[in-house]
Symmetry: C4
Subunit: 236 residues, 4 copies
């Protein structure tokens, strides 16, 4: 349990000497177990990263996320170089690393969650093409929008959706462009793949990830149920 | 576990000297964890409040509901004034407070649950407009109706649905009008948002919330499956 | 954990002196918690009963099923008379009692589970009318049929569905007629309400309940997805 | 917890003297509990088998999979003969045994999972007939494909689907033919029944099973939602 921590969210940039490594590593494991229960990281998919000052912590790649332990976590510096690897030397850094780094660099994020939720994957299929490689989902008039920083009930949340690529690292450029083009978003989805959601700290990253997932679930079920414009502004 | 308590529901108004604060606070935390597992309070949404005599206990706002601890709970008097805040002074009272208070005042409730269940959010889209700002869902011939005080299988449960507002506290007037207009209801839903369900105590609030959620799930799936009038009186 | 017991299923009629009360009572509580997690007994709905020789154990009525304790269980004799009530005298015997007794009497059952599963409730809406008050669901060519005693993959499982009534006890006659009319069934569903599933012991009652629920889920989703006759013999 | 083991996957053929029986048996029980929570082995369905060198471990048949204990596991030699039975002599070897053996023999698998997931059962109904007794599902452009050995995002995963039979052992021939006809697959589905998924060890078997299940869930929901070819290459 990390209640004390959560209730007094860390400032984004404590000096690294105050960083409590163990707590951060355990928090990543706890979040991974929670995401597995939610069905967002099945089959080794997804990932979690947390920043403390100049140090970035990342879950390893290609392993069962619900079973990682604190000693399996990578540490990187703010440039994205590995400064400390896991005890188990067979573990590999995730290909998502440059994507996580983009949120840290461009948005001063404190944590990033990468989910493979079925709700999100299905929602991306409904995204409207804006330009080559980029689409958008527009979501409005749902209370859960209030859970996203800077958004109210009547606002339109524009969730950018970038096209997927054969290699995850090849998403970096389009994800960065989407982050820059949509300055109010806390998330970028990837078509037929999943989503990256960030926040000023791991609590906000997790709760915003839950809100975005809820919104995607409602969007998909509205389409499934053929909800009309009379029933909801997002109807057909 | 609070088995002993649950099996002998409190009378609505014990003198405040008999109130066991700790037990009430732990019960709120337990219910919040249960609601999180059910998917009703994701993304910091939703809330729980319990009354003991003249003292009202409320979960804090804007935090992960599955992780609150007994010392995070607010205490209010029957007028809605905070009489004791949480240890962690950064916590804020929920904007739902006046809505919870309405159920205590107008219905002599012993507990109120506020859920953001996807079943309820989708169901509200099917509600029939009655007057500006107010709609209604009519639910009948489902066994789970018997779980709602004063309702039988053949009765029509009228669930009022009020329009959502930009600020949660601005719902107060329409929620109070709905409570007064529908004297038999134990719940008021909010369009595209969620629901408030109350009961004479926390056990009844929780079990009625489960019944209403079940009814909303069935209603939505009946629409999704295009269930006809020959198959069920609520069919299309 | 009751592993030892499950692996060596009790004979249906041990002399009552060999009955281990405590174990039976704990098994009922364990099954109730499991059913709550499955979403089959929300809102105080549903119930569980186990027979040991001439003694019948039943969960109480109108309480949160996931929280009952061993001392909350009723004991009845084979005629259905209460021989031992729960410690907590405010608890009431379930209105399902005569329905549970029918399975004991007419089928020599060792245990009965009453579920309010949404899958079953929706499936009952698709049942074909046979005569006033009685309908039937025909399910075939699904592997899970093998989990029902006396059924193979190519068999047609005929699940009788009786009309619901205002009072649960008023279901007794139609349920008994359905049991007699469908001698191969291990379950009778109740329209818009739920299902009664029995077995020679509690393990078979639970596993058959899971199989029937799975079959109902598939049936409903096949309708929802408009599965055709070319895709499956149960298609439309 | 078997973290240490998972992070250093066993080579496929250790000499049998290095086999730690207890750990393998506990891993099978742990996987079974996990599969029950996922809804893949309800009603005694499904199964799990792990190989260590020349020794093959299998969960017993016809029992609640979530409750088996290490002493309930069968041991077989590489020819499929039982070399050590469970303590409880009433337990029976699963009829799936020859199917599990086929994956060991033809693919040098280290573990096999048999699931009765509703997602898979529904997906098999959409499989395209190739020849008598054999169909195929083609799945492409979904990130979760990367979780299957030898598959990338743009590849087409061909999942063979064999017709179901009255007796499980009668599936052996068609399953072997499917394995040989589709050399790149890590799974064979059985129409209206479920799926067999294998991997070089139990971690890969489980994670590939999760990926295949996810892909089947998306396929079914795409059909349900009438996703078009403009929205996704697998659309209609």
């Amino acid at each position: 349990m990390t209640i004390g921590f959560k209730m007094e969210p860390v400032t984004a940039n404590p000096t690294s000497s105050t960083v409590n490594d163990r707590e951060v590593r355990e928090t990543i494991c706890e979040i991974c177990r929670n995401l597995y229960t939610l069905g967002w990281v099945s089959g080794t998919g997804g990932g979690v990263s947390i920043r403390r000052g100049e140090t970035i912590f990342m879950a390893p790649s290609g392993v069962e996320k619900e079973k990682i332990s604190p000693s399996d976590i990578f540490e990187l510096d703010i440039k994205g170089n590995i400064t400390r690897g896991p005890k188990n030397e067979t573990l590999k850094l995730t290909e998502c690393a440059p994507l996580f780094m983009s949120a840290y660099e461009l948005r001063d994020a404190g944590a990033v969650i990468h989910s493979h939720s079925p709700n999100v994957v299905l929602a991306t299929m409904y995204a409207k093409r804006i330009e080559p490689g980029l689409s958008v989902l527009e979501i409005t008039e749902l209370e859960m929008l209030k859970g996203l920083a800077g958004h109210g009930y009547h606002d339109v949340f524009e969730l950018p959706v970038v096209d997927n690529t054969a290699r995850e690292r090849d998403l970096t450029d389009s994800l960065r462009r989407a982050i820059e083009k949509y300055p109010r978003t806390c998330a970028v989805a990837v078509r037929n793949h999943g989503i990256y959601v960030w926040g000023k700290n791991e609590v906000q990253a997790k709760t915003q990830a839950e809100c975005v997932d809820f919104l995607c679930e409602i969007l998909v079920k509205m389409r499934q149920n053929k909800v009309t414009k009379e029933m909801h502004p997002m109807g057909i």
